[in-house]
């Protein structure tokens, strides 16, 4: 069985406007809005690299890349 791929999420806090779109489109609940209504990455280990958040982020603030140890 193939090993589970891991992904690194780069989030540009300066460009993010905390609109909550990434929270809504992520099927793995990687993101959450915190108590101050700011976006937070809570489960980065669950990311499957589907790129839904990257493609739907209106502020170009999210980049998801696969981690390769070579």
């Amino acid at each position: 069985m193939a090993e589970k791929k891991t992904y690194k999420i780069a989030h540009n806090r300066k460009w993010c406007k905390n609109c909550g779109i990434c929270v809504a489109v992520c099927s793995k609940h990687v993101y959450e809005m915190d108590s101050n209504d700011r976006q937070a990455i809570v489960n980065p280990q669950d990311c499957i690299g589907c790129q839904m958040c990257t493609e739907h982020c209106p502020d170009f603030a999210l980049i998801v890349v696969e981690v390769r140890d070579e």
């Binding site: 609109c19 779109i21 809504a24 493609e55 982020c57 209106p58 502020d59 170009f60």
Partner: protein, 264 residues
């Protein structure tokens, strides 16, 4: 998407939190990248409005013109140098009201440009007034009891005026949108892509469509693929908007822009 397509020093953009214009702009840049176009040979032209701010964030040559006059300027650029890929980014009001005449005549002349309409169903920049694409009985600043007028069907308007490529897509379906933008850009002749984006600040709030994320995700409920819609009855399609490719035909004849191309 290549980050060197963006002017990083200009970001963050001025759009409201959750505005769909950024998603549509990303899809357009993605289409340009996948087509492998030379960035020096791409020109973006825009008019006035929220959507028309988009070219200012890209590294391509761009012109920010008068309200509604993006298509005439784009026509001029294409005639002056037919080797350029000219893309017009415009809004629903900019293209169908103030620039409505230019839109139908560019379609009639079959100018080889691509028009990408960021359709948010109202005038966002000036405070959420009704545009010619605002659906009937929708609430806006100028129609507080509901819009009495019927909206234009932009796809049929462009097709009737003689556009040779017309498609509609929504930003929730990014792959679908990128595919149709790629087809529109490579199409020889006038092409138009009606891109449905959300305006959470005005249209969404006035019409109780929820927040930005709800408006975006709800596109999968009210946008129906053309192939699926063909199998449904008119009752099942009430209140739905059909997305897909509507017109894809060859040029009507030797149009001005192609004649120019042969001479160049």
């Amino acid at each position: 998407m290549r980050s060197d397509f963006l002017r990083l020093e200009r970001l963050p953009d001025i759009w409201c939190p959750g505005c769909g214009n950024g998603v549509a702009l990303r899809a357009l840049l993605e289409a340009i990248e996948q087509l492998g176009l030379d960035p020096d040979k791409v020109v973006l032209v825009s008019g006035i409005g929220c959507s028309s701010r988009a070219p200012a964030y890209t590294a391509f040559d761009n012109v920010h013109t008068l309200h509604g006059r993006a298509i005439p300027v784009a026509t001029g650029i294409k005639l002056a140098n037919p080797k350029l890929t000219v893309i017009v980014i415009t809004g629903d009001g900019d293209s169908s009201a103030i620039g409505g005449n230019h839109l139908i005549h560019a379609a009639r002349r079959d100018v080889d440009i691509t028009v990408v309409v960021f359709n948010n169903y109202n005038y966002g920049m000036t405070g959420g007034q009704a545009s010619p694409l605002t659906p009937s009985s929708s609430i806006t600043t100028t129609t507080p009891s509901g819009n009495l007028d019927r909206p234009f069907d932009l796809v049929n308007l462009a097709a009737g005026a003689g556009a040779t490529y017309v498609a509609r897509s929504g930003i929730y379906f990014t792959k679908h949108l990128v595919d149709h933008l790629k087809k529109a850009i490579t199409h020889e002749g006038f092409s138009l892509v009606d891109t449905i984006v959300q305006c959470p600040t005005y249209y969404g709030r006035f019409n109780k469509r929820g927040d930005a994320a709800q408006m975006l995700v709800s596109q999968k409920d009210w946008l129906v693929l053309k192939s699926v819609a063909e199998k449904k009855t008119p009752e099942q399609l009430a209140g739905k908007v059909i997305i897909g490719e509507f017109v894809n035909i060859g040029r009507h004849g030797p149009a001005a822009a192609s004649t120019m191309k042969e001479q160049a």
